[in-house]
C-alpha cells in the first residue's frame, strides 16, 4: 500500500511542470523574416509577421483565405528590447521558430558588426540557427521590408528568399546560414561572408506584357540575391561582385549547381555545373606560404551558340581547358579582391593552422601582413561528362 502511494506521488510529480509553455497554434504570430538596421546608434528591428486570415468557408477556394504579412518595427539599444517592444504591441505571440531569413543592413554590419546579432540568435532558443543571413545593400533595407510583400501577394518574403537560394541555379549564391557564419567567426583564420540582397523594380511596360490585366498590383518588384558581403573580424568591409563570388565558392567548395558561360571561338557556350569539389593544401617552404588549390568540376553542355561538333575528343578537351581557365580566372579575381579587402574569406589561415599549428601561432598575431604575400597554385580538373542529345 505504502509502495503504491509513493509511486503514485512520484508519478504525479512529473505533472508538476504543468502546461506553462502551451500556446494554441492560432494565437501565434509567425515571424518569417527578421531585419535589423542601425538607427541613430540604436538597433532597429523589423519583422514580417504572418497574420492568418479566416479560411473562406464552404467550397470556394479563392484567394480570400490565406496569409497577409504584417510589419512590426521597433528601435531600442538592444535587440531583445526591440523585440520586447514589438511583442508588447502585438496581440499574437510573436513566434520566431519559423523565421526563414534574417536580413541585416549594410550600415549595421559595418558599424556595430555581426557578433552582437549572431550572439542574440545563438542564445535565443526559439529561433533556429539554420536561417539564412543576408546583407541588404546600402539604402535597400527599408525598401526590402516595405515593398517586398508585393513581390508575390500572400507569400512571405522569408519564404521567397529561401526559395530563391534553394531553387535558382546560380553559381554566385554565397548565402550562409546563421550557424555557418558563427562557425566562420569562431574558427581560427577564417572570415565570414554571405550574399547580399536588394530589391529591383521591374519596368512597368514589361510587367504589363508579362502579367496582363493584373499588372497593376503585382510583380512590379523582384528580390535579387547577388554579390558577396565580405567581413573582417565581424565587421563588413566590402563587396565581391558575382564573378568574384563564384571564385570564392569554387575554393570553399560550396558550389551546388549553376550555369557557367565560356567563350569558344568567340561564341558563347554554357555549361551546367553538376558537381564541384575542392581541396586546399598549404605548403610552407622558406617562410613562403603556398596554397595548393585543387578544384574538380563535372559539367554538362547546356547550350551552345557555336556550331561545333562535340563528338570529337579534341573539342571536348578544348571545352574542358576553357572551363578550367575560366574557373582559374574567377578564383584569382576573388583572391585579389580578398587581398584588397584584407579579409581571409577563403579560410587559408585555418588550413595553415590545421597543418602547421605552431607556425600559425606566429602568423596569427598579424596575419594580414602575410596574407597579401601568399602564393596560390590553382589546379582545375574540369570535365564535360555529357553533351546532351544534340550532336552540335
Amino acid at each position: 500500500m505504502k509502495k503504491t502511494i509513493v509511486s503514485i506521488i512520484i508519478a504525479l510529480s512529473m505533472l508538476l511542470t504543468g502546461c506553462w509553455d502551451l500556446v494554441e497554434p492560432e494565437k501565434l504570430g509567425l515571424v518569417t523574416l527578421v531585419g535589423m538596421d542601425s538607427s541613430g546608434g540604436q538597433i532597429k528591428v523589423i519583422i514580417h509577421e504572418m497574420s492568418q486570415q479566416k479560411q473562406s468557408s464552404g467550397t470556394q477556394m479563392d484567394g480570400a483565405g490565406g496569409a497577409t504579412i504584417k510589419l512590426h518595427e521597433a528601435t531600442a539599444p538592444t535587440i531583445s528590447e526591440a523585440i520586447q517592444k514589438i511583442a508588447a504591441s502585438d496581440f499574437r505571440r510573436t513566434y520566431f521558430s519559423h523565421v526563414s531569413a534574417v536580413v541585416l543592413s549594410e550600415e549595421l554590419v559595418s558599424s556595430i558588426g555581426i557578433t552582437p546579432i549572431a550572439n542574440y540568435f545563438e542564445r535565443d532558443p526559439e529561433i533556429t540557427s539554420a536561417v539564412w543571413l543576408l546583407i541588404a545593400k546600402e539604402g535597400q533595407f527599408d525598401r526590402i521590408f516595405s515593398i517586398s510583400t508585393s513581390v508575390e501577394p500572400g507569400a512571405s518574403t522569408g519564404k521567397i528568399i529561401e526559395g530563391i537560394i534553394r531553387n535558382r541555379p546560380a553559381l554566385f549564391f554565397s548565402a550562409n546560414t546563421m550557424v555557418d557564419i558563427l562557425n566562420l567567426i569562431w574558427e581560427k583564420g577564417s572570415e565570414p561572408y554571405t550574399s547580399g540582397i536588394s530589391l529591383i523594380e521591374i519596368p512597368a511596360a514589361k510587367v504589363k506584357q508579362e502579367a496582363g490585366a493584373r499588372a497593376e498590383e503585382s510583380n512590379k518588384y523582384d528580390l535579387i540575391i547577388e554579390n558577396t558581403a565580405v567581413f573582417k573580424e565581424d565587421k563588413m568591409v566590402g563587396w565581391m561582385n558575382n564573378e568574384e563570388s563564384t571564385g570564392l565558392l569554387w575554393v570553399t567548395g560550396k558550389i551546388r549547381w549553376g550555369d557557367l558561360k565560356i567563350q569558344m571561338d568567340g561564341k558563347d557556350v554554357v555549361l551546367r555545373i553538376q558537381k564541384a569539389d575542392s581541396r586546399i593544401k598549404p605548403l610552407i617552404e622558406d617562410e613562403k606560404i603556398l596554397m595548393n588549390i585543387n578544384v574538380v568540376v563535372a559539367s554538362d553542355i547546356l547550350e551552345s551558340q557555336a556550331n561545333i561538333d562535340y563528338q570529337q575528343n579534341e573539342v571536348i578537351d578544348k571545352v574542358q581547358d576553357l572551363l578550367a581557365e575560366k574557373i582559374k580566372k574567377q578564383i584569382i579575381a576573388a583572391f585579389n579582391k580578398s587581398k584588397m579587402l584584407e579579409s581571409d574569406v577563403f579560410g587559408f589561415g585555418n588550413y595553415i593552422f590545421g597543418k602547421y599549428p605552431k607556425y600559425w601561432e606566429q602568423l596569427s598575431t598579424n596575419w594580414y601582413e602575410y596574407y597579401p604575400d601568399i602564393d596560390i597554385n590553382i589546379e582545375v580538373n574540369a570535365k564535360v561528362n555529357h553533351t546532351g542529345l544534340s550532336r552540335k
Binding site: 500556446v23 494554441e24 497554434p25 492560432e26 504572418m50 492568418q52 486570415q53 479560411q55
Partner: protein, 532 residues
C-alpha cells in the same frame, strides 16, 4: 402477535413428521450441494432412486420419465430419464427404447434377467457412449449434459447413454475475423462441433483434448487442447492447474476464464489470444501453444498469447510472404498511429510548433481561427464522439447501425467543421486514428489501444512531447514486464531472439521457417531435415 405469526407460518407444526421427510422438504427449498449428491449412491431399489430424483428435479417441466419393463417374463421395471430439449428424441427412441422394449420380441431374450445380462455385457444398446455411474451426482450431471439415463430395478448402477441432440447454430463464416484467402468456417457454440473442426485439421494421435468441468452450477465443459510432443508439459500442466483452481458458479463465455487465469489481471493489455477460427487454433497448436475451448461460446482462448501473436491475422500465412510482411509492417505502423497520432498532434501543435513545416502550421492556424476549443479539448471531444459512435454502432441492431454511421459521418465530418466547432485537420487526425485501429486483428488489443490513447492524450496536452516520451517509456516498461503463461509478453523482441523474429513484424517464407518459435515448443523442427 409473534406467536400468532409463528403459528401461521408452521401450519403443520402439530402434525407428526418423520425427520427424514422434514429433511427432504428443507432440501427441496435450498437445493442440493454437490457433496450431498455425491454421497447419494444409486440404490438397487428403483423406487428409492426415483423418489430421490423426483425430489431433486421432479418439479421441472422438461424432464421426462418413461417407465418400461424389461423382458416378457420375469419382467424387471426400469425407467428412462432424459431432459426433453437436450436429447435427440428420435435417436433416444431408436437406440434406447426400441432395443429395450420392442426388440425383446425379436431377439429371443425372454426374461428380464437375460436382458440385463446382455445389457451389462454391452450388447443390447449399441450406442457407443454408454457409461455406468454409481452415484446420483454423476447420474444427474449426465442428464443435465443431455445424456439419457437408464435406471433398472435391482441394479445399484445407472446407465448414462449419450444421445445428445440440441438446437445449435450451424458452422458459418467468421464475422469477427474475416479473410480474403483461407478457410471461411468459424467455431460454433457447441464444444463437440468445435473439437471436430480442429481434429479435422490435425490428424495426429498426439492431439489431446482434455475435458474439465468448471462452475459449481454451470458445470461448463472446458477443453484444453494441445499436441503432445510439441506443447511443453509445463504449459498444459500450468493451464490445467489454473483452470482447476477456478471456483465460480458458472462460465458463460471464455472471457470469464481469460480474466480468471491471466497473469496480470490489472493490465489493460490482453494476455491471451482469442479466436473463432479453427485454422488459427490448429496453427497455434502446431506452434506448441495450448488452446482452451469453452462450451457454449465460439471464442477459443490460446495460451500463451504474447503481443506479436496478437498482431497476427490468419491470412498472413495464406498470402505470399512478401505481401504478408508488408501488411504486417503496415499493421505495426497503424498500431503506432492509433495510439500516438492524436497525442502527437496535440503536443506538436500546442507546444512544439517549430516542428511543423511553416506551410502546414499556417494551414492549421487558418483552420483553427474560429474554433473556440483549445486543441486538446477539441481532440478529446472528437475522440469521445468517435467512441460513442463506435459503441452505438456495435450495440445497435444492424439495420439501424447504418443510420448511425451516416449520422456520424455527417455530424462529425461535415456539420461540426462547418459550424467551426472542430477544425478539419482534427477530423482527419481522428478519422485516421480510428481507421488505423481497425487494422489490428485482435479486438481486445484495440480496446487497450483506446484506453492508452486517452491517457497519453491527457499527458500530451499537459506535458507536450515530454509527456509522450514518458508515456512511451512507461508503455514499453509495462509491456516488457508482462508475461503470459511463462512467456515474456514482448517475446521475441524482448528478450531478443533473432531466430524468432522471422515471424513477427515480417513473415518469413514458409521454407525459411524450418523451426518452430523457440519459446516452449518441444520438437523445434517444423520441417524434418529442412526444406529441399
Amino acid at each position: 402477535m409473534i406467536k400468532y405469526i409463528k403459528k401461521l407460518s408452521s401450519p403443520n407444526g402439530k402434525r407428526q413428521t418423520s425427520p427424514h421427510e422434514k429433511d427432504a422438504a428443507q432440501k427441496h427449498k435450498n437445493g442440493y450441494s454437490e457433496d450431498e449428491l455425491k454421497n447419494m449412491q444409486i440404490s438397487s431399489l428403483l423406487i428409492e432412486n426415483m423418489d430421490r430424483i423426483k425430489n431433486i428435479m421432479g418439479s421441472n417441466a422438461d424432464i421426462v420419465f418413461k417407465n418400461i419393463t424389461l423382458g416378457r417374463s420375469e419382467a424387471r421395471s426400469a425407467v428412462i430419464i432424459y431432459i426433453d430439449n437436450l436429447v435427440d428424441a428420435r435417436f433416444a427412441d431408436l437406440l434406447i427404447v426400441r432395443p429395450l422394449v420392442l426388440d425383446a420380441y425379436t431377439s429371443g431374450l425372454n426374461t428380464g434377467g437375460e436382458m440385463i445380462e446382455q445389457l451389462q455385457a454391452g450388447n443390447l444398446i449399441t450406442r457407443g457412449q454408454i457409461t455406468k455411474v454409481k452415484n446420483l451426482n454423476e447420474f444427474l450431471d449426465g442428464l443435465l449434459m443431455g445424456d439419457t439415463g437408464l435406471l433398472i430395478e435391482g441394479i445399484n448402477e445407472a446407465y448414462i447413454i449419450s444421445v445428445k441432440g440440441y438446437e445449435h447454430r450451424a458452422v458459418a463464416e467468421s464475422d469477427v475475423e474475416p479473410v480474403v484467402r483461407g478457410p471461411r468456417e468459424a467455431f460454433v457454440e457447441v464444444l463437440s462441433v468445435n473439437i471436430g473442426l480442429i481434429r479435422r485439421r490435425l490428424h495426429t494421435p498426439n492431439l489431446v483434448f482434455e475435458l474439465l468441468k468448471i462452475g459449481t452450477a454451470g458445470k461448463t465443459n472446458v477443453c484444453i487442447a494441445y499436441i503432445k510432443g510439441i506443447c511443453p508439459e509445463g504449459l498444459y500442466n500450468e493451464v490445467r492447474r489454473r483452470l482447476e483452481r477456478i471456483k465460480i458458479d458458472g462460465v458463460l463465455e471464455s472471457g470469464y476464464i481469460e480474466e480468471l487465469i491471466q497473469d496480470n489481471p490489472y493490465s489493460i493489455f490482453p494476455q491471451m489470444r482469442n479466436t473463432e477460427r479453427p485454422d488459427v487454433v490448429a496453427a497455434s497448436l502446431l506452434e506448441g501453444r495450448a488452446a482452451i475451448i469453452v462450451d457454449n461460446t465460439p471464442v477459443v482462448l490460446i495460451a500463451p498469447g504474447e503481443f506479436p501473436s496478437l498482431m497476427q491475422s490468419a491470412e498472413d500465412y495464406y498470402n505470399r510472404y512478401i505481401f504478408s510482411s508488408m501488411i504486417r509492417l503496415i499493421r505495426y505502423f497503424a498500431f503506432g498511429i492509433s495510439i500516438y497520432l492524436p497525442p502527437l498532434y496535440i503536443a506538436v501543435s500546442t507546444y512544439h510548433q517549430e516542428m511543423i513545416p511553416t506551410e502546414l502550421l499556417t494551414s492549421i492556424m487558418s483552420a483553427r481561427t474560429e474554433v473556440p476549443l483549445p486543441v486538446s479539448a477539441e481532440a478529446f471531444a472528437m475522440t469521445l464522439t468517435f467512441e460513442i459512435l463506435h459503441e452505438a454502432g456495435v450495440r445497435l441492431p444492424r439495420p439501424i447501425g447504418q443510420a448511425v454511421s451516416i449520422v456520424g459521418a455527417l455530424v462529425i465530418g461535415q456539420a461540426a467543421v462547418q459550424a467551426k466547432i472542430v477544425s478539419p485537420l482534427m477530423v482527419i487526425v481522428v478519422a485516421l486514428t480510428a481507421i488505423s485501429m481497425f487494422t489490428i486483428p485482435q479486438y481486445n488489443i484495440s480496446l487497450a489501444v483506446r484506453i492508452s490513447r486517452l491517457l497519453i492524450m491527457l499527458l500530451a496536452s499537459v506535458l507536450g512531447m515530454f509527456g509522450i516520451m514518458m508515456s512511451m517509456l512507461f508503455l514499453m516498461l509495462h509491456l516488457c514486464s508482462l508475461e503470459s503463461f511463462g512467456k515474456p509478453y514482448m517475446a521475441p523482441f524482448s528478450p531478443l531472439r533473432i531466430g524468432d523474429l522471422k515471424d513477427t513484424a515480417v513473415r518469413a517464407p514458409w521454407w525459411a521457417m524450418v523451426r518452430r518459435p523457440a519459446y516452449g515448443a518441444l520438437d523445434s523442427r517444423r520441417m524434418k531435415g529442412g526444406q529441399q
